[in-house]
């Protein structure tokens, strides 16, 4: 703490504050342009000059506040210096303020108003016509160099916060400008369109193309991934026109990615469903709610029991999902209810459940920058979870060691201490190999293992076959890298593991997850801040959909169907008879449709026709089903197969909660009215349930649903809408005076005996392997610019940034096959084929190809297979498909 005097006023400056920060903290304005609270000071604009007694004129943004300092902010000399600095800026500034997007919100206007402008002094020097062409190339924002003050905030934001470093100062003297490589349009640079520079630019040099200012803003949770960024959605005239990050949120601290900031226009799309549709003679015809619901009620009544199946939504709220799960079990009398976690993180839930006793990530996003080692495997956070990616880069900036393991070279590889590119599907070998190195070098934590883990003896025996020879041969990772990775991880005090579908979407995904849990337990990296195991969950509420019992084997809070006490509890609470026969996961539901066992579906906010592997087989199943109801916000690819389509509401049109990847329940709030006659998902399900005679579906409001959830599971007992208004709460939260649980397993694990279970794993190769006919291994993943299919395909700007499917391949493979970058190729597997263009890139390893799955016209999942599901979680092996690529 330093006490300084600013213009005679006593000001207390906290530790490590500059004079400018101390003044701003105390509510004293000193003009400034290049200072930004999120960035390191650079002292470039010379507008924040002050006079320090004994030192003269200094830039206050770079002067550390020291005890006893006397600061004068408005002397004639200070005024003279900053006036000239301001005039030089104004001379080159396009000052058509009224037509500028930043009018009234402009740093330069504020500075000029404070310092005062005498135009006569520089009128003659003024540029009369704009000197530079406007860069319109980005679909979401515009760069106008004529309004640039060269403060460099955009340059520093791109490098320090986003980590892309797409722009920098270029040229010299008067010609100095902010430029991309080669001074090309921003859209052709490394820019990822996150817009972090746009929100920080003090002038109109960087401004969104959507210039409509909102007439109201509502705090809500982003819908585009499991990070759960808090944002203010702005509405005007019944449309969403803006989004800005909430700087107070511990989850994203104001940061957003391109989808969260600019991807909201799908909400306003004219293609939104506005009325129920009933298929008559193969064509959809608009219907009233009564017609649609009467038909559904009548048909569903014919299919009660295990011939009926429900797929819930990882995009809908917890309340929507709870009601859906209750409806399936209490009214339809079956446990055939599942959500798309079956296709992604189900192995995380089963794996962590077996190892630690609870299927949730152990720590929080805010702890990432505090780790001293991050092990990132089978995930691409800067694209699939961009705000977590920013935190990982912040950790590296703080000195953390970064280990990256992925079959493809990912961006974070540039920041990594060690990058490994293993062959797809060989993770157990890599991870057990690392464990063996850790144990054989004595880097494990015997005390932690002794006190808190079971199964160490068997585990030591199981590690034996994973010699460096075997690991190198199996994974393709050089032995030195395996050893270095093991040492980096084990020698760190706070080592955190992050993973996603590269680990789970395998025929042995549960094993992969347990192999990661093994590493954490072996080294005691669990139950403390900034270490542990964090799965990066994909969809915005996939954690919640699982937690709320939209899975075949458990009620919400993972209360098992197999437990008679749970059945008794819910039969009493819901006043009904419940089925105890185990339900089917969604892949098995579809397989059992082809055998005639499943006859009818209720599909809520899910697109299995394009997201489940072996799409041809899925389409066949959906065609064979006798009655299909699809409930969605768009006529999705799946809805085309339905007999009745029900129009639902987007996240901007309803109230409720989402649970993010760190188990944090956060509010979503209604901003605008839904289009046409669209209704909230919970309302629709309750309406069907009531019409079918179901009891306990008379909620007035989603908050009543959350209250019921809490009464029936101690995980949620302490969580209600009122508390959530003060911020998100992480489960378990057993009472209203409980703060929630940021870190799991601090004292004991959630297993029956409180001990972590070390898993003695064996290596099982993937089902598919390259052969003469299909010599290349395809692995799949997600694009930064898309969120699966229907939603982002309705956002023209996102489509412009990533317009079509590409198959990525290594130059060696491309040369051998006579394929050049951009060529049209046919990709085929045993399951099917699809024509796309090739992207030739050294980011792949030879023999491996990569595709995303975001385009209806080129459905990647016709290639992937269901030959063998993970035996525990029943998840397909999306990440390893043998394919052939040919020029067409």
């Amino acid at each position: 703490m330093a006490t300084i005097s600013i213009d005679g006023t006593r000001v207390e400056a906290t530790e490590n504050r500059t004079v400018l920060q101390a003044a701003l903290d105390a509510g004293i304005y000193i003009p400034h342009l290049c200072h930004h609270p999120d960035l390191k000071p650079v002292g470039m604009c010379r507008l924040c000059v002050v006079e320090l007694e004994g030192r003269g004129i200094v830039a206050s943004c770079e002067a550390a506040a020291q005890d006893g300092m006397k600061v004068l902010t408005d002397t004639p000399q200070v005024q003279k210096v900053r006036q000239v600095a301001l005039e030089l800026l104004l001379t080159n500034h396009d000052s058509n303020c009224l037509a500028c997007a930043k009018n009234n919100d402009c740093g330069l206007q504020k500075v000029a108003a404070f310092i005062g402008v005498d135009e006569a002094r520089f009128k003659q020097l003024r540029m009369l016509t704009p000197q530079y062409a406007i860069d319109d190339s980005n679909p979401f924002f515009r760069r106008d160099p004529n309004k640039c003050v060269l403060c460099g905030i955009c340059v520093r934001t791109c490098a320090e916060i986003q980590g892309s470093a797409a722009i920098d100062y270029a040229f010299r003297g008067f010609a100095t400008a902010i430029s991309t490589l080669g001074n090309k349009p921003i859209a052709e640079s490394k820019c990822q369109s996150c817009g972090e520079c746009v929100v920080r630019c003090p002038t109109g040099a960087l401004a969104p193309k959507e210039t409509r200012k909102p007439s109201k803003e509502v705090l809500t949770t982003c819908t585009f991934c499991g990070v759960g960024c808090q944002l203010y959605l702005g509405a005007r005239g019944g449309e969403i026109v803006s989004a800005r990050g909430d700087r107070e949120s511990p989850v994203n601290r104001g940061h957003l990615c391109v989808k969260g900031r600019f991807g909201y226009s799908f909400i306003n799309s004219p293609e939104r469903l506005k009325t129920p549709l009933i298929k008559k003679d193969g064509k959809f015809v608009a219907a009233t709610w009564d017609e649609a619901l009467d038909l559904i009620t009548r048909k569903f009544a014919e299919y009660k029991g295990d011939q009926f199946a429900v797929m819930g939504s990882s995009r809908c709220t917890n309340e929507d999902n709870y009601v859906l799960m209750k409806f399936t079990r209490a009214v339809m009398g079956t446990n055939n209810v599942d959500n798309c976690a079956r296709l992604c993180h189900a192995p995380t839930v089963t794996g962590l459940g077996a190892s630690f006793g609870a299927g949730g990530g152990t720590n929080t996003i805010a702890e990432i920058p505090g780790a001293d080692c991050l092990f990132i495997i089978g995930c691409n956070p800067t694209h699939a979870h961009p705000v977590v990616g920013m935190r990982i880069r912040a950790a590296v900036g703080n000195g953390a060691k970064l280990i990256v393991a992925d079959p493809r070279r990912i961006e974070l590889g540039d920041n990594a201490t060690l990058s490994m590119t293993q062959k797809p599907g060989t993770d157990v070998a890599l991870l057990m190999g690392m464990a063996r190195v850790i144990y054989s070098e004595g880097l494990h934590n015997p005390q932690f293992i002794e006190e808190r883990c079971d199964g160490f003896k068997e585990f030591v025996k199981a590690m034996e076959p994973f010699t460096l020879d075997f690991v190198e041969e199996t994974t393709g990772v050089p032995r030195e890298q395996v050893v270095e990775a093991a040492r980096l991880y084990a020698k760190s005090d706070r080592a955190l593991i992050l993973w996603a579908l590269g680990i789970t979407e395998h025929s042995h995904g549960t094993d992969n997850v347990m192999a990661l849990a093994n590493l954490a337990m072996l080294t005691g990296n669990i139950g403390r801040p900034s270490c542990g195991a964090m799965p990066l969950r994909g969809q915005n509420n996939v954690q919640g959909a699982c937690d709320l019992g939209v899975i075949p084997n458990a009620f919400h809070g993972y209360q098992k169907i197999a437990d008679p006490a749970a059945i008794e509890k819910f039969e009493k609470a819901w006043d009904c008879k419940l089925s105890t026969s185990p339900g089917l996961g969604m892949v098995e539901q579809l397989q059992q449709t082809l055998t005639g066992k499943i006859k009818a579906y209720y599909l809520v906010g899910i697109d299995p026709a394009y997201s489940v592997s072996d799409a041809n087989q899925v389409w066949e199943a959906l065609r064979q089903a006798e009655f299909v109801v699809a409930q969605d916000i768009f006529l999705s690819g799946t809805a085309e197969f339905a007999d009745v389509v029900l129009p639902a509401t987007s996240f901007a049109e309803k109230d409720g909660t989402f649970t993010n990847l760190e188990r944090r329940l956060q509010r979503i709030r209604k901003v605008i009215e839904p289009p046409g006659e669209a209704k909230a998902d919970w309302w629709i399900t309750c309406e069907i349930a009531r019409r079918m005679g179901g009891k306990g579906f008379d909620y007035n409001d989603p908050s009543e649903i959350l209250d019921e959830m809490g009464r029936l599971s101690s995980w949620f007992t302490g969580i209600n809408f009122e508390r959530l208004d003060a911020g998100g709460i992480q489960w378990p939260c057993p009472s209203t005076d409980h703060p929630g649980t940021p870190i799991l397993h601090t004292e004991r694990f959630a297993t029956a005996n409180g001990k972590g279970q070390l898993a003695p794993l064996v290596y099982r190769p993937p089902v598919d392997s390259a052969d003469a006919e299909y010599p290349i291994i395809l692995t799949t993943g997600r694009s930064l610019y898309h969120f699966h299919l229907a939603m982002t395909s309705k956002v023209p700007g996102l489509m412009a940034l990533h317009p079509e499917e590409l198959v990525w391949m290594h130059p060696k493979d491309a040369r051998r096959l006579g394929i050049a970058d951009g060529d049209k190729v046919k990709v085929s597997s045993e399951q099917g084929e699809v024509d796309v263009r090739a992207k030739v890139t050294k980011d792949m390893r030879p023999g491996t190809a990569y595709m995303t799955f975001h385009f209806y016209e080129t459905p990647t999942n016709v290639l992937t297979h269901q030959k063998s599901l993970d035996p525990v979680s029943k998840t397909p092996e999306y990440k390893v498909t043998a394919i052939r690529i040919e020029r067409v």
Binding site: A159, F171, N183, S189, K842, P846
Partner: protein, 163 residues
């Protein structure tokens, strides 16, 4: 294997030449300018792929490499033409109509300052003075001083140039 991926290129013709230059220097930011100078000495200019290759090798953002290179007048970003055109913009030439001469040259060749014609026959630069003010306005075309230029003379000089 990361090592193997880094070593096998997509095959831009200059890649191995730049690689050889990089091999002579420490992979540090401080080596950036000497490396760029050698790359230009070898290739005649700094192609974008070469700047990217240097950026990756040194761990410096590519926009930063361009920022540094574009600060110095010595670096070129387009290949030099077989015939270089230097239009004088010194005081005497300026008064004598250099702006019109320059505009005409640009029009004839279809390129701007610092650029080359697509067939790499001509490249265009401006200079502050070529030391023959008595002949203003003037230019040096392929090593020969062209004196007392007019737009008409420029047209004749570049007659037959395919734009």
């Amino acid at each position: 294997m990361a090592v193997e991926i880094a070593a096998t290129g997509s095959g831009a013709p200059s890649e191995s030449q730049v690689g050889a230059i990089l091999a002579k220097h420490p992979a540090e930011r401080s080596a950036l300018i000497p490396i760029l100078q050698e790359v230009q000495a070898k290739l005649g200019y700094l192609p974008e792929e070469a700047m990217c290759q240097v950026a990756e090798a040194l761990g410096v953002p590519e926009a930063n490499v361009y920022g540094v290179a574009s600060f110095y007048a010595q670096f070129r970003f387009a290949p030099i033409g077989r015939k270089q055109v230097h239009v004088c913009r010194g005081t005497a030439c300026h008064v004598g109509g250099a702006p019109k001469i320059l505009a005409e040259v640009k029009e004839r060749l279809g390129i701007g300052e610092g650029e080359s014609t697509p067939d790499r026959e001509y490249s265009l630069e401006t200079v502050a003075c070529i030391g023959c003010c008595a002949l203003a306005p003037c230019a040096v075309v392929d090593g020969k001083v062209e004196a007392k230029l007019t737009p008409k003379k420029v047209r004749e000089l570049f007659q037959g140039v395919q734009r």
